[in-house]
Symmetry: C2
Subunit: 234 residues, 2 copies
DNA sequence: GTCTATAAAGTGATAGAC
DNA sequence: GTCTATCACTTTATAGAC
């Protein structure tokens, strides 16, 4: 903390965090050992336990470092939109923008490259036993409920469960896109191009906005099961 | 193999596979040890190595057991659709149906509950270092390219990279929905309801069909970057 | 705050008796 | 085909010297 006594104390802690972030992004939280981290950070094996108490403590730090800021910025952006527009519904595209734009703010705060940062975010939000610290989970659930209300307001007449499921599908598209964008490169044989971050965000918003508000013109046909379109001899 | 000598030989192998499938579905491929599997299967610790050569061998078996059938049925369904419709484009909804319907066929072949089966599929298709056996990967890439062509044909005027990215977003929605449907329950506080499998498929197809064909009426505005909609003081 | 040494438990895998 | 016993290795974590 003190800038006088030399940076080496805080520097090691910082190097550990950054090394962990890169490794977690690349390999996933499960496949990285404490030794991988300390080696990459050029620190001693015991450093992680000294600075963070345990491996789990370091994971918690890495999780909290970006999830909370992202979720809080999401809420702030949604607040600003709703304040600006008065009592009317905020258009779906604007709500989606508020949902993903914070990533571009936070990527600049990090020491990571864009690619690694987004992989890391995808892994965080995609993790199941995400075991978020209570404070982080609280903000997370709060944020989700606020957005559910905003989406519901933007799509009047749609039932709550339909809104939740569309949010789930939307989140899946986001998470998978972030965590596995390089897989697309591989499977498409390069035909997916090299889009800028802004292009990718745009594609995401257009795709999911259409999905979210689909059926709005024909609410009665909206969410009935379709059933098999084609019978098939299996 | 011989039904005479008693089923215990084949039974153990089968029990190991089923135990592995349930554990992999629940915890993910990385977090399950050989001992977890043999214990759950009521088999000896050495059984996995005897029957499958290694842990990795068992993982490969589990992966291949469903991925190949799913991908081959996808191709067969797409073939049938294209044969039926002649040279014209198959509508996006029908292509999507061919893409997801095979899961309902294969879930019946498995010994798993619907919930576990879909979690397992989500984990398989979501895995990064998916390390598919060569044969499986070949079918997989072949399948993807055929569907890319079908989608491109259904959405004339859309550039190849745009089609690939929409497929990626669509696949993300599918994978995340399958692997983490229970998370939705938790975060929505139960407000996401208890839909049937058919309802969930219907929701998926409607959502992604709208996303896939979005901008079709206004091709020129189609995929330009939108840029920030709202400036925000961060 | 950093290091070495080491503990304690878990990992996948195998040899050899039955 | 199944079992026990065990190997060789890795994992997280800690005690204690510096």
């Amino acid at each position: 903390m003190s800038a006088v006594a030399g940076d080496s104390k805080v520097a090691t802690k910082q190097r550990l965090i950054e090394a962990a972030e890169e490794l977690f992004a690349d390999e996933g939280f499960d496949r990285v050992s404490v030794r991988d981290i300390t080696t990459k950070a050029g620190a001693n094996v015991a450093a992680v336990n000294y600075h963070f108490g345990s491996r789990e403590g370091l994971v918690a730090i890495v999780l909290a470092r970006y999830i909370n800021p992202v979720n809080e910025e999401r809420l702030a952006r949604l607040d600003a939109l709703e304040r600006k527009i008065g009592g009317k519904p905020v258009p779906v595209e604007e709500v989606l923008e508020a949902f993903v734009r914070p990533f571009t703010t936070q990527v600049r705060r990090s020491e990571l490259t864009e690619k690694l940062f987004f992989k890391l975010m995808g892994r965080m939000f995609g993790q199941e036993g995400c075991n978020l610290p209570p404070v982080v989970e609280t903000v997370f659930v709060n944020m989700l409920n606020r957005f559910q209300k905003a989406f519901a307001k933007a799509m009047p007449g749609l039932a709550a469960d339909d809104v939740w499921w569309r949010i789930h599908l939307m989140a899946g598209a986001m998470i998978h896109t972030m965590a596995h964008a390089d897989t697309l490169q591989r499977f498409s044989g390069g035909d997916s191009g090299s889009p800028t971050l802004e292009q990718t965000l745009s594609r995401f918003i257009r795709f999911t906005a259409a999905g979210m508000r689909q059926g709005a013109d024909d609410p009665h046909e909206g969410e009935k099961p379709r059933g098999p379109q084609v019978e098939f001899p299996f």
